[in-house]
């Protein structure tokens, strides 16, 4: 059961290393968006500290939105997505591997970059730690929800716009809990509640979303 997922994961990773420019653009986008806010609002440290958690979460969300469009598109265009759907292995497991690979390629580098951007926003160490933890717990849910919407829009010409309208409302709970956890850490309060809720949303998505993604891919490939 696990072998095909592992093979798929290896293939995805090898492909992404060979096309490394695809890996860089979400990162650059993330840094760019988060450097627009000090220019637009104020460079004062106390203002930045106040808006920082929310801005970093929104920037991460937008950067994921950008890369989500590519999740199934290349495979759809070269026909390998069809092979994936026709494969004897359960599609639910295979799409979980696909989403996991996407998370490792696109979101994990984002997490590694976050401390640097957090320093630019003058966030203290404890808040940065909670921010990272909230991103770690919350982004899997975004990847999985994004997987459903990406699978639904993969065959469409104007897919990217529809993807954004579909995904952003669904990602609001994650955004709320993620940025509030960091806010609470800034105020020196207990952050276990929102962090646990983020984990719960991710677990729920991991158990339900693969079925949605599989069903959506079958519709798109009809």
């Amino acid at each position: 059961m696990i072998t095909p997922v592992w093979l798929l994961l290896k293939r995805e990773m090898r492909q992404s290393v060979r096309r490394w420019s695809d890996l860089i653009s979400p990162l650059v986008f993330f840094v760019l968006v988060s450097s627009l806010f000090p220019l637009a609002i104020s460079p004062a440290a106390d203002v930045l500290r106040q808006v920082g958690p929310g801005v970093l979460w929104v920037a991460a969300l937008l950067s994921m939105l950008l890369s989500m469009n590519r999740l199934f598109r290349d495979d759809f265009e070269d026909g390998s997505l069809e092979q994936l759907v026709l494969a004897p292995q359960p599609l639910v497991l295979l799409v979980l591997g696909k989403v996991l690979a996407h998370w490792l390629q696109m979101v994990l580098p984002l997490l590694l970059l976050t401390p640097a951007v957090a320093i630019a926003y003058d966030l203290p160490g404890e808040a940065t730690r909670v921010l990272l933890l909230s991103l770690l717990l919350g982004t899997p849910a975004l990847s999985l929800l994004g997987g459903i919407t990406a699978a639904l829009t993969v065959g469409l010409r104007q897919g990217a716009g529809v993807l954004a309208i579909l995904l952003l409302p669904l990602s609001i709970p994650v955004l709320i809990f993620g940025s509030r956890a960091t806010d609470l850490a800034l105020e020196g309060m207990d952050t276990t509640g929102p962090l646990m809720l983020l984990g719960a949303i991710s677990l729920l998505s991991a158990s339900l979303a693969p079925f949605g993604i599989a069903a959506a891919l079958r519709v798109s490939l009809d």
Binding site: L152, T153, P169, I172, P173, L197, V219
Partner: protein, 243 residues
């Protein structure tokens, strides 16, 4: 045999005739009840001691907000029926309902803003209920956007059905997160709508209006449903015979 009536609903000519039959009844009942409810709301219901006469917009606002949520659930249920029993007309109900639901949501938001102006002194506050209603509007837009992006109606049905079901699973989570976010940000609630004690004179026009809105939705839905059937069955042989 028990389920014959259910399977019959899946037949386009039968459903078309049923919609033709039901539509005038629903429409006139809705109009009559709306007139009664409007009379009750405007003349019978006493003036609220806190909000004055401005509270009377409740008789539009509350039924619209109620319909906005009910229609999304109806869309998810009919989409699920369409997916499970492969009944295409169930998708037609969902597709015909979406713009109506979006309009009811917009009406609830607009009437809420008009109500909020004299009550709170502002058109918009980031109150939990207002915010989740706004998100619901975006969910409707997403559903309609996805439908219109597909060329093949069959694909559009199933794709939008998936997003309706995903949306309905998410709605409670969104509602909970927005409530939680709101209580953290605004400790003193400004909402004055939370008094459960409402006199009978105020209550009955509201209940009549809710029933009237449901019937009105049914009446408009039947018209839209007929259009959906005509569009989907435009090459079918039963159509020229019927018309």
């Amino acid at each position: 045999m028990m389920w014959t009536w259910f399977h019959k609903l899946g037949s386009p000519p039968y459903a078309y005739r049923l919609a033709c039959l039901l539509q005038p009844w629903l429409f006139w009942l809705a109009t009559a009840l709306m007139a009664i409810g409007a009379y009750g709301g405007l003349f019978v219901a006493p003036t609220d001691y806190q909000m004055g006469d401005a509270f009377r917009i409740l008789y539009i606002h509350a039924p619209a907000a109620y319909m906005s949520m009910a229609i999304y659930v109806i869309m998810a249920i009919t989409s699920a029926i369409g997916m499970i029993w492969r009944i295409k007309l169930a998708f037609a109900i969902a597709a015909a309902s979406a713009p109506l639901g979006a309009w009811f949501t917009a009406l609830a938001l607009a009437s809420g803003a008009i109500w909020g102006q004299p009550m709170w002194g502002t058109w918009w506050v980031w109150d939990a209920r207002l915010t989740s209603e706004l998100i619901l509007l975006f969910l409707y837009f997403g559903y309609m956007g996805l439908r219109s992006a597909y060329d093949d109606p069959n694909q559009a049905d199933r794709a939008s059905g998936i997003i309706a079901i995903v949306g309905v699973v998410n709605v409670p989570i969104i509602k909970f997160s927005v409530d939680w976010w709101n209580t953290l940000h605004q400790p003193a609630t400004i909402s004055k709508l939370d008094n459960p004690s409402i006199t009978a004179d105020m209550l009955w026009p509201l209940l009549v209006m809710i029933v009237a809105f449901n019937l009105f939705y049914g009446a408009v839905l039947m018209n839209r449903f007929r259009c959906e059937i005509l569009n989907r069955e435009r090459n079918a042989r039963w159509l020229p015979e019927l018309l």
